[in-house]
């Protein structure tokens, strides 16, 4: 009874087997995330740059002995999969150190292990009925649909950010160009007039 209560409490404290985070990476900065993993656990890392500059970021993944498992520079989006060879703390870092003034917004998804069963007793090795198998199949497909939606949401966010930047740039450039036009138009006339006024003055002086 106590064990059941304790298990329920622990399930509620929620051991999650996947984290997705969207964070801002300022210029010349590095952000690292750490995860403690057991041996022979398969993990997947997906990342996408949503906004900022050329929409690219450096990413590297190291294992507990500081061996580099994955190292890519200036990538817009990528997916990395690995099965752990040892137990310990795995590190995934995103670096924007190559950028001087643009800050980036990066989406990261770190999934590891197996999905937690709904109830404690469902993790047992009893065979599933046909209905239960269908439910499991539908659940897996719906997870793929949700992942696909996330993918499209991120691509759309990136395109929308680009469109909004374009809108801003068009506005500022138009205003700037109009001002420049007036300044040059009036300036040219004033300059020409000043040439002739001086010459007339100097012509009058020499005669």
């Amino acid at each position: 009874m106590l064990r059941l209560g304790l298990s329920c409490f622990l399930l509620h404290v929620a051991l999650v087997f996947g984290t997705e985070l969207t964070f801002e990476l300022p210029d010349n900065d590095k952000q690292c995330f750490y995860e403690e993993l057991y041996k022979d656990v398969k993990f997947d890392i997906d990342f996408q740059v949503i906004s900022g500059g050329n929409y690219d970021v450096d990413c590297f993944v190291t294992d507990p002995h500081d061996n580099v498992l994955y190292n890519e520079r200036k990538k817009q989006y990528d997916s990395f999969s690995h099965t752990t060879a040892m137990e310990g703390v795995y590190k995934v870092c995103f670096s924007n150190e190559f950028s001087t003034f643009t800050h980036k917004i990066v989406y990261m998804d770190f999934r590891h292990g197996e999905e937690q069963p709904l109830l404690d007793k469902m993790s047992g090795s009893t065979a599933l009925t046909q209905l239960e198998s269908s439910c499991v199949a539908i659940h897996e497909v719906l997870k793929v649909v949700a992942d696909s939606q996330t993918w499209y949401r991120l691509r759309e966010a990136q395109d929308r950010t680009k469109a909004e930047h374009l809108f801003e740039r068009v506005t500022y450039w138009s205003i700037g160009e109009t001002v420049l036009l007036f300044v040059i138009g009036v300036g040219q006339v004033m300059l020409l007039k000043s040439f002739f006024s001086e010459r007339k003055g100097s012509v009058a002086a020499t005669t």
Partner: protein, 223 residues
């Protein structure tokens, strides 16, 4: 046979406890007054649960303390209109929940307010964070107990929750596409009108320049 099953379950529980003590979950390091913000782009009427746990760096031991009472984290959550919907102080371990009422980018910001850190810890804090969105916030054992569902009914309930979340995300996508289309059409219009206006300004400026200079030269008796 029965004792074997019990042993198996004991081992599973032990593993769970061990996992919690080993501090499972993604973590990152944060400086003293550093503010870390995370963005969650979610449809409306979606529940978000965030859980965090902090550990302070112990200079003497050269490692992180298991838990630190008295250390607080300030959690601030802003909605897409940059209005603050939650701004609260929590202890070294906390759990915050909010439900979105407008679709869009919500910002979850965490920062430590403790000044003790600078004195004792050399300014390093480890934060374990976990954010669950939408149907992942549902606690199925609790739902099963409350509504007295069988295993199959619980599975179907999970499928229903998943489909509902997919549906919300799709209507949010429609809203986003409309925003995107409005921005693009605005840009298109602006480019068109500004091009016409600038050509007009150019012609008018040219004509004004010629007339002004002509009258100037005529006055100077050079023409």
């Amino acid at each position: 046979m029965d004792s074997e099953i019990r042993l198996g379950e004991e081992l599973q529980t032990f593993q769970l406890i061990f996992c919690v003590l080993l501090s499972c979950g993604l973590y990152f390091h944060i400086g003293e007054t550093e503010k870390k913000c995370f963005i969650e782009e979610i449809p409306d009427e979606t529940m978000v649960i965030g859980k965090y746990r902090t550990q302070l760096w112990d200079k003497q031991a050269g490692s992180f303390l298991p838990s630190t009472p008295g250390l607080g984290m300030h959690v601030e959550i802003k909605d897409p209109d940059t209005k603050i919907i939650l701004s609260r102080q929590y202890g070294s371990e906390g759990r915050f929940t909010f439900t979105s009422h407008t679709p869009g980018e919500h910002q979850i910001c965490l920062h430590s307010n403790s000044t003790k850190m600078a004195l004792f810890a050399g300014g390093k804090l480890r934060v374990h964070l976990e954010i669950q969105v939408g149907e992942h916030t549902n606690n199925y054992p609790e739902i099963a107990a409350k509504d007295k569902l069988t295993e199959l009914q619980l599975r179907v309930r999970q499928l229903l929750d998943q489909v509902e979340q997919i549906q919300k995300e799709q209507s949010y996508q429609r809203y986003r596409e409309e925003r995107f289309r409005m921005t693009s059409e605005s840009t298109n219009q602006r480019v068109l009108w500004w091009s016409i206006a600038q050509t007009f300004i150019l012609i008018v400026t040219g004509i004004w320049q010629m007339r002004h200079l002509k009258s100037f030269f005529e006055a100077k008796k050079l023409v």
